[in-house]
């Protein structure tokens, strides 16, 4: 039941926040925090009562048996880390929007719902349930962009939803095929994995799954929604997009292809590697040419998530582990950068790199925070990002030297865009917009949390590695078994 609570608590938190907000607008945020915190407690309970073996905990409840669907939730280290991340980012965004005045109850409710839906994705092992949460997740994010966004938010919101919902159709179609393929209609991922699917079908089904995951990831050429969505989204929206939504794509790729379609993965992984390699360089190069700070960071996300794709498609222990670590590290560093850029935007109402500058003189705390997360983006050793990149490169050396060198090149290019972002904002003299107010304590809190996360997992990553190990191992074993 704790697993169901992990999904329900944030969901109910959103509803109650909305109700409480009707009576007293300030009550909404407290309700949201309380419910999210209860989610954290439930997660802690899960950890305490973890069972030995591959899965820490598993729940099966009937849902719509006639349709072959049941509620199957399971948690292992990977899911645990992801759920923890989502709850943490949920709390962080609520705190960050603590003093929001514009439809604050709805905002806090939407944040809670995003967390609830992505928790669902991280825990669901009934394929229909997965597809359900997969699509559900889009709705609150869509609202976040459409209601609280900047600029041409409607177009960005529609673009976001269209890309992802269409990709989700691929997932849906594949899921139904799987459901109908067995002796009885069943969407139980474990059962399907046990039964095994015909190898040719696996390729097509994997294509359906991968479409959904890769658009969400996003991997070029499916990334065009991301820069717009990130740019127009409010700060909290950008944080959840970068920290959570992209991770659901990575999680999906990490988990399901090897679980359900090992043979298909064996066939398609080389193409995934090509796509990832292309995306890594492409994202980095495009990032170098951006003038909007948020867009720049968005393209760096494209580059980094493409590295994750490479890591996953590499299919060796190192690369998978590296991909898992980048998932966490990128959640911290990209969120923090969006937070900082958002804070700059709040003060001077521009994100144009040509107009910004001189933060180092007027707002040293800002500058220091920028410096830290800028180095995290460059995969500076000591940050979790480095660990992930290094592991992926190691894995790539085992797979194909070409990909390893491409990743190394992207490390060099990362300096080009990283310094561009950093020095245009922090150095020089402000051309138009002078930031005069340094980070407030309410902003500083989340920044410090993210900084600690980045550095802690960079220096002491054993917790992450131990957590990811079972998932990585079973992925590697599945691939090994699938190799003819």
């Amino acid at each position: 039941m704790a697993l169901i609570a992990l999904i329900l608590l944030p969901f109910l938190g959103g509803i109650f926040a909305l109700i409480a907000g009707k009576a007293e607008p300030t009550a909404a945020r407290i309700v949201a925090v309380v419910f999210l915190f209860c989610g954290v407690l439930a997660l802690a309970w899960t950890y305490q009562h973890a069972e030995a073996g591959r899965w820490m905990m598993m729940t099966r409840e009937p849902w719509a048996p006639a349709m072959g669907m049941s509620i199957i939730l399971a948690i292992d280290g990977l899911s645990f880390i992801m759920v923890a991340l989502s709850l943490a980012l949920g709390l962080l965004t609520v705190v960050l929007s603590w003093n929001a005045t514009d439809r604050a109850p709805l905002l806090h409710a939407t944040l809670c719902w995003t967390v609830a839906a992505s928790n669902g994705v991280f825990l669901a092992f009934d394929l229909v349930l997965l597809a359900f949460f997969w699509e559900l997740m889009l709705v609150p994010s869509f609202l976040l962009i459409a209601i609280w966004g900047h600029g041409d938010r409607e177009a960005a919101a529609i673009k976001f939803l269209i890309y992802n919902a269409i990709a989700g159709l691929g997932l849906l179609a594949a899921v139904f095929w799987i459901g109908a393929s067995g002796p009885t209609v069943s969407f139980d991922a474990f059962e399907v994995a046990e039964r095994g699917l015909p190898p040719t079908a696996q390729i097509w089904l994997l294509l359906g799954f991968a479409l959904a995951f890769m658009v969400k990831l996003p991997v070029p050429p499916f990334h065009a929604w991301l820069p717009d969505a990130h740019t127009q989204a409010p700060t909290v929206g950008s944080i959840l997009l970068a920290g959570l939504l992209l991770k659901t794509g990575a999680y999906g790729l990490f988990r399901f292809p090897t679980l359900l379609f090992p043979q298909g993965m064996e066939v398609l992984a080389p193409y995934g590697l090509i796509l990832g390699a292309f995306g890594t360089i492409y994202g980095a190069l495009v990032a170098c040419g951006q003038t909007d700070a948020k867009r720049l960071v968005a393209y760096t996300s494209v580059a980094h998530m493409s590295v994750v794709l490479m890591g996953i498609c590499g299919g060796v222990h190192f690369s998978l582990m590296g991909a898992g670590i980048i998932m966490v590290a990128h959640a911290f560093s990209a969120s923090a950068l969006f937070l900082l850029i958002g804070a700059v935007y709040d003060r001077v109402h521009t994100r144009d790199l040509r107009e910004l500058g001189g933060l180092q003189r007027s707002a040293p705390r800002f500058a220091a925070a920028f410096a830290l997360f800028f180095s995290a983006t460059l995969a500076m050793p000591g940050t979790a990002n480095f660990l992930g990149e290094a592991l992926v490169i190691t894995g790539m050396f085992q797979v194909n030297w070409l990909y390893a060198s491409i990743t190394l090149v992207s490390l060099v290019v990362s300096v080009v865009y990283g310094t561009r972002l950093f020095q245009r904002i922090v150095f020089g003299t402000p051309r138009k917009a002078q930031v005069t107010v340094d980070l407030s304590f309410r902003e500083l809190g989340p920044v410090v949390v993210l900084a600690i996360g980045t550095l802690l997992f960079g220096v002491l990553p054993q917790f992450l590695m131990t957590g990811l190990d079972p998932a990585v191992n079973s992925a590697v074993e599945a691939l090994r078994a699938a190799t003819p």
Binding site: A66, M67, F133, L136, V139, A157, L161, I162, A173
Partner: protein, 446 residues
């Protein structure tokens, strides 16, 4: 008590006669109350009756009861959103008649009942359409009359062909492989496609949605569609497997999905967009029917049942907004009228097939039926159609949340609010827990 399965029809007919009889004298409220009572009574009877009437003309099986129930619900919804100010007193009686016609259709097993039911719906619908007596309403009514006449003639021609070839007026006639029957089947399909608003027989649909009162659109969009869908389901097993039926349905379905979605793409008026989208949804149903999947019937009934509440809610919102129900007029609706706005959002998300709204499960049924049947071409069309559909539903959804809102003339009437709330509850309730509906549908196969 041994019931015959005819009670709902009898109650509906009786209520229609009473409502018509008292309408010149009695107040609007009384007429409506009587109509509502009649509908509710028919609904209860349909839900409660057990007997299976088997006559040559009508069947009273579970599917017929399911169809009657859904028709009664749509009748109630139509009744609730009739604008009190402008609705003439005959409207409740006409709604009852249309409901009756649709209910007869859902029980039809014979050329005569098929024809009578169809015409009852059409004529009542025409009358309902022209009731506001405004220029667009008259125009829509006239076009429906002319096109409906052609449609009826075509259908009758088909029935006559089959009768001529086999001497059989029941649906069993269609199992013949005679060429005349095949031609008749083509004509029948054309006639039914007209009522089912499949491309290219769809032209009247958007007019009804935008020109006529929203109540008429509900009747056209749900009640008559339920009836025709059940007729199609009943005809399906009779038809030769490789005949015109499957191929024609597939062709019409593909055309409807493609054209309906494309024409809705940038449509600025909400009801008109709903009209085009209803064409697309009919197309999805036709695709399911054409696929010949094992559980076609479940999928079709489930799909219609999930489509109904979303359409009720959307049309109720359109009725509340009246002439302003277009992209500019809908700006900021969520902030100005939270109930209407939120429910309309839900309805649009449901139509788009996003989860937590029941529409997700409709999409689920559609895809799984097509996937099960192994008709991947049709599946691809359905996926592409859904993808395009996302765009225009979301365009409206986004508009609802815009900040630069406009003023809205009136808050929803309590009846409209009731429709909205009931639809929202259904959409979300079934969206989270679709099991009961699926069980109901499984128990209601023809």
């Amino acid at each position: 008590m041994a019931t015959m399965g005819l009670e709902p029809l009898a109650v509906l007919g009786l209520a229609a006669v009473i409502a018509m009889a008292i309408s010149p004298r009695a107040s609007d409220g009384t007429t409506r109350s009587i109509a509502a009572l009649g509908l509710i009574a028919a609904l209860i009877l349909a839900a409660g009756s057990q007997g299976a009437l088997t006559s040559a003309l009508l069947t009273g099986d579970a599917a017929a009861r399911f169809g009657t129930g859904l028709c009664c619900l749509s009748g109630l919804a139509a009744l609730a959103i009739l604008r009190p100010a402008s609705a003439p007193r005959e409207a409740p009686a006409l709604i009852l008649l249309a409901t009756l016609g649709a209910s007869v259709l859902s029980g039809a097993a014979h050329a005569a009942t098929l024809f009578v039911g169809l015409e009852l719906v059409t004529l009542a619908l025409i009358a309902l359409t022209v009731l506001p007596r405004s220029a667009p309403a008259l125009e829509a009514g006239y076009k429906l009359l002319i096109l409906g006449g052609i449609g009826a003639a075509t259908l009758l021609m088909g029935l006559a062909f089959a009768f001529a070839a086999t001497g059989e007026l029941t649906f069993a006639a269609w199992s013949s492989t005679d060429r005349l029957v095949a031609l008749g089947a083509a004509l029948l399909l054309a006639g039914l496609a007209f009522k089912f608003s499949l491309v290219p027989f769809h032209m009247w649909t958007p007019d009804i949605f935008s020109g006529a009162p929203a109540a008429a659109a509900i009747v056209a969009g749900v009640a008559s569609k339920v009836g025709v869908a059940i007729v199609l389901l009943r005809l399906q097993p009779q038809m030769p497997a490789t005949g015109i039926w499957q191929t024609g349905l597939a062709a019409l379905g593909i055309a409807s999905v493609v054209l309906g979605n494309l024409q809705a793409l940038r449509q600025p008026s909400l009801p008109r967009m709903l009209g085009f989208s209803s064409i697309a949804h009919s197309g999805y149903l036709a695709l399911i029917l054409a696929s010949g999947a094992a559980d076609t019937a479940q999928a079709v009934l489930f799909y219609i049942a999930t489509y109904a509440p979303a359409l009720f809610a959307a049309l109720a919102a359109a009725a509340i907004l009246d002439r302003d129900a277009n992209l500019t007029g809908l700006r900021g609706l969520v902030w100005a009228q939270p109930l209407t706005g939120a429910v309309l959002t839900l309805a649009l998300l449901s139509l788009a097939g996003l989860p937590l709204a029941v529409g997700f499960w409709a999409k689920f049924q559609l895809f799984s039926a097509l996937a099960q049947a192994g008709t991947y071409g049709l599946l691809a069309v359905a996926i592409l159609g859904s993808a395009a559909g996302l765009y225009f539903y979301l365009r409206f959804t986004v508009t609802l949340f815009r900040r630069d809102g406009v003023d809205f003339p009136r808050p929803p009437h309590w009846q409209e609010a009731a429709v909205l709330l009931a639809a929202a509850a259904t959409i979300v309730g079934l969206g989270v827990y679709p099991g009961p509906l699926y069980a109901l549908v499984t128990a209601s196969l023809p």
